[in-house]
């Protein structure tokens, strides 16, 4: 296996793009990544598109090939990867494997989703298509209801307070204010969270990530060729993926996200690193509770201590364990298939020292965690400065 580097990144602002098509968003992100790597004339060997539901949301299939056609490239392999909300990281994983194996040299990864043109009820239905078709969906189960179950169980067992939970949203909104690509750039207070409308008790609107449009892109190359394109390649040190039972009711302990735990262990082992070596983390906070539980299952904190860590400011940009300097899914926004790629884009900027006011000091190594379903599938990637 060869070392693989991220040589170019780009993304659209996340938010509402009512007058633009899904392909148009993908084109913008792709073109930015190619320009970033100064690779507009480089032959692209493979294109992997992470997109959860272009069919359901935009009436579009054959999506990856259409993008290649519009982008004016003729890669040997062109595919769309679907792994629900982790489609983005799964697309990176596929591109990584193709380059690491030696089969291809230059691989473009694009993650995207367009959802805001639909009424909320239809977008919610599309998102709920990742729930279990028999055990959950016929009962009216939505993603927020699963997050609510997890929150209530967690609060009861570990004494997490409603305020600690709200602080996750407050922190991520504060970070997003420093991110020009973020969907929700508005500072909020604990009171704002606690006064927002109830979605699924005890979760409120500000505990949930928004429905967003957007695209993000990465260009990968073997490390041995990376310096042809950039003087600051971010090396992918390790990748890890794992699955868990689809329904949380069938998990031995619903408060441990085993897929996250195992994917993280695998990625770090392949990177020959420990979680303590990681300077910056982007994780999948589709709901505030998920940031807390994932931070524990990634090994950043002991089980039950994630809430206290947020309260003590450990997860802030200037804290000991910075989490989601981009604003996370909560405030950067969550265009499903784009999220995993946007996480990689953020980590790359952080390693290069290009994150502006939200820069984590001396960030040399980063980790991203993207989950599918309700953490039934997780993809963790470890990155390191390659210069």
């Amino acid at each position: 296996m060869r070392d693989v580097a991220v040589i170019g990144v780009g993304m659209t602002p996340f938010g509402k793009h009512l007058n633009r098509s899904l392909i148009d968003l993908m084109l913008e992100a792709s073109h930015k990544a190619l320009m970033d790597a100064d690779a507009l004339d480089a032959p692209i060997d493979a294109l992997y598109v992470g997109c959860m539901a272009s069919g359901m949301l935009c009436g579009l299939q054959n999506t990856a090939t259409l993008l290649a056609d519009e982008l004016g490239i003729k890669p040997q392999t062109v595919e769309r990867i679907e792994n629900s909300a982790a489609s983005g990281a799964s697309a990176i994983l596929n591109a990584y494997l193709a380059v690491a194996s030696g089969l291809y040299d230059i691989a473009l990864v694009v993650g995207a989703e367009k959802m805001r043109h639909l009424p909320t009820s239809e977008a919610t239905r599309a998102i709920a298509s990742m729930t279990h078709p028999e055990g959950e969906r016929p009962h009216g189960v939505t993603m927020p209801s699963l997050a609510a179950f997890l929150t209530r169980l967690y609060m009861k067992r570990y004494g997490l307070t409603r305020e600690q939970l709200a602080l996750v949203a407050v922190k991520n909104h504060r970070n997003a204010l420093l991110n020009p690509y973020a969907h929700l750039r508005k500072e909020i207070t604990v009171e704002d969270v606690l006064n927002s409308r109830v979605v699924a008790e005890p979760l409120r609107l500000f505990d949930c990530s928004p429905i967003s449009d957007g695209a993000a892109a990465l260009l990968l190359a073997p490390m041995e060729r990376a310096l042809e394109f950039t003087d600051k390649p971010a090396v992918i040190r390790g990748v890890g993926q794992a699955v868990d039972r689809v329904m949380i009711t069938e998990r031995d302990d619903p408060l441990t996200l085993k897929a996250v735990k195992e994917a993280s262990r695998r990625a770090l082992r392949r990177a020959a690193l420990s979680i303590d070596d990681i300077d910056v983390v982007e994780l999948h906070d589709a709901f505030t509770i998920l940031e807390i539980v994932e931070s524990e299952d990634l090994g950043l904190f002991e089980k039950g201590e994630g809430g206290i860590a947020v309260e003590e400011g450990l997860t802030a940009i200037e804290g000991e364990r910075p989490i989601n300097p981009s604003g996370g899914l909560k405030a950067r926004g969550h265009p499903l298939g784009a999220t995993g790629v946007a996480q990689a884009v953020e980590i790359t900027w952080q390693l290069r020292g290009e994150a502006g006011e939200r820069q984590v000091r001396d960030a040399e190594r980063g980790l991203s965690c993207n989950i599918s379903g309700f953490a039934a599938n997780a993809v963790v990637i470890v990155y390191e400065r390659g210069w």
Binding site: T142, P144, S145, F149, L153, K156, A200
Partner: protein, 110 residues
């Protein structure tokens, strides 16, 4: 009267599944053909719950959704005729309506 849900039980390891499955997750593919139909009891207990204010179209709002333990199996179901429930409170399984295969109804503690 309560409603007895059909579940499957693995003859190799005893695990019970609802929704019913033809393969046991614990034993894997070799368990195909080794699962038998069983009936769950018509009563159980609530483990946790939420009041959902933005349910999918066609469902009442707000609605109470609960995780209940019924005969050793954890199920998600909608609780009818109750504005609130608590962890530990007893429920019975009743026949569902439309696409919903079953509902839960609170049994008041005496």
């Amino acid at each position: 009267m309560g409603f007895h849900l059909k579940a499957t039980r693995c003859r190799l390891c005893g695990a019970i599944y609802h929704p019913p499955r033809s393969i046991c997750h614990r034993c894997g593919p070799r368990s195909k053909g080794h699962l038998e139909m069983v009936e769950l009891p018509d009563q159980g207990r609530i483990i946790t719950y939420t009041v959902l204010h933005y349910p999918p179209e066609g469902y009442p709002s707000p609605m109470v959704l609960a995780v209940a333990e019924i005969g050793g199996v954890r199920l998600i179901g909608r609780v009818v005729d109750a504005e609130a429930v608590e962890e530990g409170c007893r429920v019975e399984v009743v026949k569902g309506e439309g696409e919903t295969p079953f509902l839960l109804r609170r049994i008041d503690v005496k």
